[in-house]
Symmetry: C2
Subunit: 252 residues, 2 copies
C-alpha cells in the first residue's frame, strides 16, 4: 500500500464563474473524488479567460502539487484558451493530434463538417496525451502532471472518472463527523486538546445556524480509523458532559 502523501490542485478557468453567472460545481466533484482516492486537494483557484493568469496558475501549481486539474476553456470558441495557455506554460507548441482528429471525425462522421472551429480542438500541446470526451468530441489532454478537462460538469465528471484509475492514491483519509447542539465557543478547548493529544488526527469545526439555533459539526480526520473512533467517543462524552445532545454521528 502506497503511504506517501499525494496532493492535487484545481484551476477553474472561466469568466462566467467570476461574474457570478455560473456556479462552480467542478471543484466540489474533484474534491470528493480526490478525498476518496486518498489524494489531498490542497488549493483551488478560479481564474478568468486570461493567458497570463492561467499560465501563472498552471506553472505554480504543477511545481507544487502531484496533480493539477484544470476545467474549462477547451472548446471551439475564441474564449476557449486553455490549450494555448497550457502549451505556453510548458513552453511547447500546439500541434494537431492525429487521434484528436480521428475522434472528431468519428463524432461528426463527415470530413466536410470539420470547420475551422472544430479543427481548433484537434490542436493540443505537443507531447500531451488526449483525454477522451464521448459527449461532444472535444478532447481534454494531459501534459506532465496537468490534466486539462472540459468545463461542462457532466463531461468533466466523465473525464475524472476515466482518469481516476491512472492516479496513484496516497494515504486513505477517513472522517467521522459528530454534530452537537452546542456552539463553537463552548467546545473550542476540547477540540484543541483532543487534536493535540492524538497525533495524526485533525479536527475541524463547522458551525451552522437554522432559525437562530446554532449547532456544530466536529469533523475528525486521519488515516487511522481506530484512532478516529476513539476520538469520536471521547468527543461525544465531553459534549454530553457539557450539557449537549449528540444530533448525529456519521462516517464520511
Amino acid at each position: 500500500m502506497a503511504m506517501e502523501k499525494k496532493t492535487a490542485a484545481v484551476i477553474v478557468i472561466g469568466n462566467e464563474i467570476l461574474s457570478g453567472r455560473t456556479h462552480d460545481v467542478n471543484t466540489n466533484f474533484i474534491a470528493k473524488a480526490m478525498t476518496a482516492k486518498g489524494i489531498q486537494l490542497t488549493e483551488a483557484r478560479v481564474v478568468p479567460d486570461d493567458f497570463d493568469l492561467i499560465i501563472e496558475a498552471v506553472n505554480l501549481m504543477r511545481e507544487r502539487y502531484d496533480y493539477v486539474f484544470t476545467t474549462g476553456g477547451i472548446g471551439p470558441t475564441h474564449d476557449d484558451m486553455s490549450a494555448e495557455a497550457i502549451a505556453r506554460a510548458f513552453g511547447v507548441k500546439l500541434v494537431q493530434h492525429e487521434s484528436a482528429y480521428q475522434m472528431l471525425l468519428d463524432y461528426y462522421k463527415d470530413e466536410s463538417k470539420l470547420n475551422d472551429a472544430r479543427l481548433k480542438m484537434t490542436y493540443l500541446p505537443e507531447g500531451s496525451d488526449m483525454i477522451i470526451n464521448k459527449v461532444t468530441g472535444a478532447p481534454g489532454f494531459k501534459i506532465g502532471n496537468v490534466y486539462a478537462m472540459a468545463g461542462v460538469p457532466k463531461i468533466m465528471q466523465a473525464m475524472v472518472e476515466s482518469l481516476l484509475p491512472s492516479l496513484a492514491g496516497g494515504v486513505k483519509i477517513y472522517s467521522i463527523s459528530v454534530t452537537v447542539n452546542l456552539v463553537e465557543s463552548q467546545i473550542a478547548d476540547i477540540l484543541q486538546k483532543l487534536e493535540e493529544d492524538n497525533d495524526g488526527v485533525e479536527i475541524g469545526s463547522y458551525p451552522s445556524f437554522k432559525d437562530g439555533i446554532g449547532k456544530v459539526s466536529a469533523v475528525i480526520r486521519g488515516p487511522d480509523k481506530e484512532k478516529l473512533e476513539h476520538v469520536s467517543k471521547a468527543l461525544q462524552h465531553a459534549f454530553i458532559d457539557l450539557g449537549g445532545s449528540i444530533l448525529e454521528v456519521k462516517e464520511l
Copy 2:
C-alpha cells in the same frame, strides 16, 4: 460617474471546501454582488487552514486587486486562523479590540460567559476596523483593502451587504445572454468576429447539454448598453441564418 476599473479577489479559507465536505457558495454570492456594483472579480482561491498558504494568497491579492474578501476562519476554534494569518501578512500583532469585546459582551450579556475561546474573537489585527456580526457576535475585520468575513454563508452575506455602500464601484458592466439551439463549433466564427468588430464588448460562450441535446448561451458583456443591444440583435440574426432557433434572450 466613476469610470475607473475596480477589481476584487476572493480567498475562501477552509479545509472543508477542499475535502469536498462543504460546497463553497460564498464565491458566487460575492461574484454577483461585485458584478452588480461594477467591480470586476478577477480571481478566487480556496486555501486550506494553513498559515503559509493564507499569508501567500493575502499578500499577493492585496497588491494586485482593489479589494480582497476572505471568508472563513474567524471563529473561536483552533482551526480558525484567519485573524492571526492576516495579521502576519500585514506584519502587525493581534490586539484586543475594545469594540469587539463590547460586541461580544452585548451578545452574551454576562462577562463570566466570555471564556478564552470567545475572548479569542476579540483579538483582531492591529489597525483593523471591526465588521459587525449580529448573528453570532464573532466580528469580521477590515485591514487595508482586505475584508475578513465569516465562512457561514448567512453571516458572510450580511457582512457583504453592510460593506457594499462603502466600496467604490467601477464601471457598471451590463450583460445580455442569447441562448440558441446550436453548438459552439457552428457559431465560433460569428462570436469572434462580433467581438473583434465591437470595441469594449466581450462575448463568452457557454455550452450546455440536456438529454444529449446541445445548446449555447452567448453572453455579451460591456459598459455600453446600447452597443450590447446592437450586438445582441446581430447575433440573433446570424443564429437564425444558420438555421438555429433563439431559445431565450435575457438581460442579466
